[in-house]
Each structure stands twice: as C-alpha cells, then as structure tokens.
C-alpha cells in the first residue's frame, strides 16, 4: 500500500509560490492558480497581472467594499496595490504576447511530456467552447507553469504522452506542479523535480505511465 499523502490545494499553492522569484510579474489563471497569491511571502514583492487590464493587483476586498468595476479575470472583486495601474486590453495582452510577463500559472486538463497543453475544451460536441486568454498566456508568457491534480477523478494521469483534448499551445509548458510531484517538461520528455514524501520514483512513473528522468 502506498506510503504517501497528496499535497492539499493550499500546500500545492505554497509549493508554486516558493518558486516565484523576487520582483517577478505573474499572471495567475482562473481557479486553483488564484490560491498561489495567498502564499507569496510578504517579504517578496511580486507584481500580479490580470488580463482584463490590471498590474499590481491586490487581495480580495473586505466584505461590503466590493467594487465590480475592479475585478480579476475570473470576474471576482479584487483591489489595487499602491503603484498599481489600469490599462486597456490591447496593452494588457501586449504584456503577455510581447514576452514581458515572467510567469503564468494555468490549470490544465492534460499536459504532454514535451509541454503541449490542453486546458480550454474537452472537445465534446454539445459543449459550448470558451477560450478566453488561455492561448495568449500559454504562448506569450516567458514561462508557463501548470498547477493541477496529477490524476483525474478516475485515476488516469493528466500528464500524457500526447494530448487527446484540443490543444491550447504546443511545447509551451515548462513545469507541472501537481498534488503528487513537480515535473519539468523538456523536448526530451519529463524530468523529476520533486515528489511528496514517501512516493518513490518508480511509483510515480507507474502512475504517469511515462519515463521520468531523475
């Protein structure tokens, strides 16, 4: 029987936050990546970008102080830090498309060993598609990180040899932070960064079903 425990969502967010360097400009995608903001140490100044036109985004407002002209990409109310700025959409996307954004952290349905990303559509015929800024972020940021559970609810690996869901970008993911392990995607395939305590390299390879370089 396995002898390890998964990272909780907050532990995973803290693991991602640990790797965000001083002074980085970061876009945190909708959903789980938003949690990373809560774990960036106060001693480290990091600029958060929101693609609807905010740089220097602050935490959620106190109850009763919400202003729905000041929202993040997930349409939740946020605040602006002193020094923060507003700008229009073409400027905002120039920041990512022009390679000015250091890191974006995105959720994913699937990531391939060489860094292909699928995170916008499951390709089901009756589903209504919506892409938002995912393709611009994945391709434009200097580094794209994925934050996700390693396995689906059915126990299948979301890290795959080849994505079966519609692609968001090709070879764009640099690193995968998951509840069981941190992996780098390289042109030669997966490389191990770390695992949770008690999970062996061999067990991880078995869960993923792909070779992982130590």
């Amino acid at each position: 029987m396995s002898n390890y425990r998964k990272r909780s969502k907050d532990e995973l967010a803290a693991r991602v936050a640990r790797d965000i360097p001083d002074g980085a400009t970061v876009n945190l995608g909708i959903g789980m990546p938003t949690l990373v903001a809560n774990h960036i140490p106060s001693s480290r100044e990091v600029l958060l970008h929101s693609e609807n036109g905010i740089l220097g985004m602050g935490p959620s407002p106190r109850a009763g102080e919400e202003d729905y002209d000041l929202i993040n990409a997930g349409k939740q109310p946020v605040t602006l830090l002193p020094g923060g700025a507003y700008f229009h959409h073409a400027d905002s996307f120039a920041m990512m498309r022009g390679g000015h954004l250091d890191i974006c952290v995105l959720g994913a349905f699937q990531v391939s060993a060489t860094g292909d990303l699928s995170n916008w559509s499951t390709g089901e015929p009756e589903a209504i598609p919506a892409v938002g800024g995912a393709m611009d972020l994945a391709t434009g940021a200097r580094q794209t990180w994925v934050m996700m559970d390693l396995l689906t609810k059915h126990g299948e690996s979301k890290v795959v040899g080849r994505c079966t869901y519609p692609l968001t970008g090709i070879g764009c993911v640099r690193r995968i932070y998951s509840d069981l392990a941190t992996l780098d995607c390289t042109p030669q395939g997966l490389r191990l960064v770390d695992t949770v305590d008690g999970l062996t390299h061999a067990e991880l390879e078995k869960l993923v079903g792909l070779p992982i370089q130590p």
């Binding site: 693609e51 905010i54 729905y68 000041l70 073409a90 990512m96 598609p129 892409v131 393709m135």
Partner: protein, 253 residues
C-alpha cells in the same frame, strides 16, 4: 444669430463672422444611435459586467437595427444588456473569446438551437485584431493559437524562430463604450478595470458612442490623463451612475 447643427458640431453666423464649435454631446441615447443600419458590426465594450454600456445596448434594442454582428469579450450575463439584445433576436453572429459563463443562459440557448453564429477568438487576438483595424493594419502574424483548432485553415509562417498564424483586423461600424468623464471634443477617461476593451474598440469603428457619468468643460480633463482622445469618438451621452453589479461567475451558496 443663425445656427445649424452638423454631425460634429454647431455652425453659427454672428455679427463678428462665421463660428464653428465641435460638439459631440448627444442629448439622448436615441440621438446618438440614430441611423444604425441593419447588418452593422457593433463592438460592445466590457469584460464580465465591468464596462458594459447597458444604456447604449438598451438604446440599440429600441433603435431596432437587426442582423447585427456583435464583437464583445463575452456573450451576455443574466437577462439584461447584451443578453437582452441577443434575446430580442437582433444578432446574427457574435465574435468573442469567452461566451460560456455561469449566467450566459440566453447565449447558450440560442447557440444550441443554431440561432446564433459564433466566431471564437483567443482574447488577446481579439484585442489585437481590433487594435489593428484602428491602426490601419490589415492583418498580422502571431504565435497565439498556432497548432490549435482555432487556427485551422489559417495561413502560417515561421517568423523569429516561431510558427505564427495570420490574423485579420476586425473593423466595426459602431462602437458602444462605457466611459467615466468626457468633454465636447469627445475626450474620455474610464473607471478602473471597466476600461478594458473601450479604448481599442473606439479606434476600430466608424461611429463610436460613449456614455459618461459627467460631461466636463474643455480643459478640465488633465491632458496627461486622457485615455481616449476625442478623434476616436463621435458621440458622448451623459447617463446616471448605476453601480456595476456582479456577474459572470457562480456566486457562493
């Protein structure tokens, strides 16, 4: 003194001679939207519920133009604004990046019944295609979307060591923008993240109408802080301030 209105101002003849004053202030939404033609491409500002010019959309429903192509980031929230325009059956096609939201039921229903054509565009490509139209650029190459379903059938080229996709400018006939302050030359400022698509859409359309909450005298706006210079604006209308409501996400139970 004889005066006559022309689209951009007031012409007057006084004892001292001929006088012309630029005046883009419309006295009503109906006046600002008079003459919108069937089949127009209408760009509507807003991201989520921030910056949606609801009064202008209501005015467009009233005005009656149909067979419209709408360009917006989303495809309507709840039942008001863009959702109401869709529900009224005035829209043939929507060009947007994120139609599916927790409260996009009007769009969802029309799309599933095949009543509405959808062109799904990555958000940054949408902003840049609009910007390109406003800047007189016919098309551009970008890596965004390369190799994905949204680039199928599009021309590609290897540039700067990256495969890039050809994307065409999107021109509009009418832009509906929600701004904050304006003056009679059409200079505009915005409020917080409600700015979003407003400034680029204003550049890309032949007729741009903005609502403002206050009309100020010329010179009152700090020239260093004007966001949309009046050259991109044809009409401004003063409206009462209505608090922007939440929308676009599931509210906590």
């Amino acid at each position: 003194m004889n005066t006559a209105s022309v689209p951009w101002g007031i012409r007057a003849v006084s004892r001292t001679g001929y006088v012309f004053m630029i005046n883009k202030i419309a006295t009503s939404v109906a006046e600002a939207l008079a003459g919108v033609k069937d089949g127009s491409t209408v760009m509507i500002g807003g991201f989520g519920t921030a910056g949606i010019p609801n009064q202008l959309i209501d005015g467009l429903i009233e005005q009656g133009a149909r067979d419209l192509t709408v360009v917006n980031n989303n495809a309507g929230n709840g039942e008001a604004g863009l959702a109401a325009l869709l529900k009224a059956g005035r829209v043939r096609k929507i060009i947007c990046s994120f139609p599916r939201q927790a409260d996009s039921q009007v769009f969802d229903g029309l799309y599933r019944r095949g009543k509405l054509e959808l062109e799904l565009v990555p958000q940054g490509n949408l902003a840049e295609r609009i910007r390109a139209a406003g800047a007189g650029i016919g098309a551009f190459f970008t890596p965004t979307g390369y190799g994905t379903d949204l680039a199928k059938g599009k021309e590609t080229r290897l540039l700067d060591g990256k495969m890039q996709v050809l994307e065409y400018a999107i021109h509009g006939d009418l832009a509906l923008i929600k701004a904050e302050l304006g003056d009679r030359w059409g200079n505009l400022t915005y409020r917080k993240a409600a700015r979003n698509f407003g400034p680029v859409m204003a550049t890309a359309c032949s007729h741009t109408v903005a609502t403002v909450h206050e009309i100020v005298t010329l010179g009152a706006l700090d020239p260093e802080a004007v966001v949309t210079p009046g050259i991109f604006v044809q009409k401004i209308v003063k409206i009462d301030r209505v608090e922007t409501l939440a929308g676009g996400f599931k509210s906590a139970a």
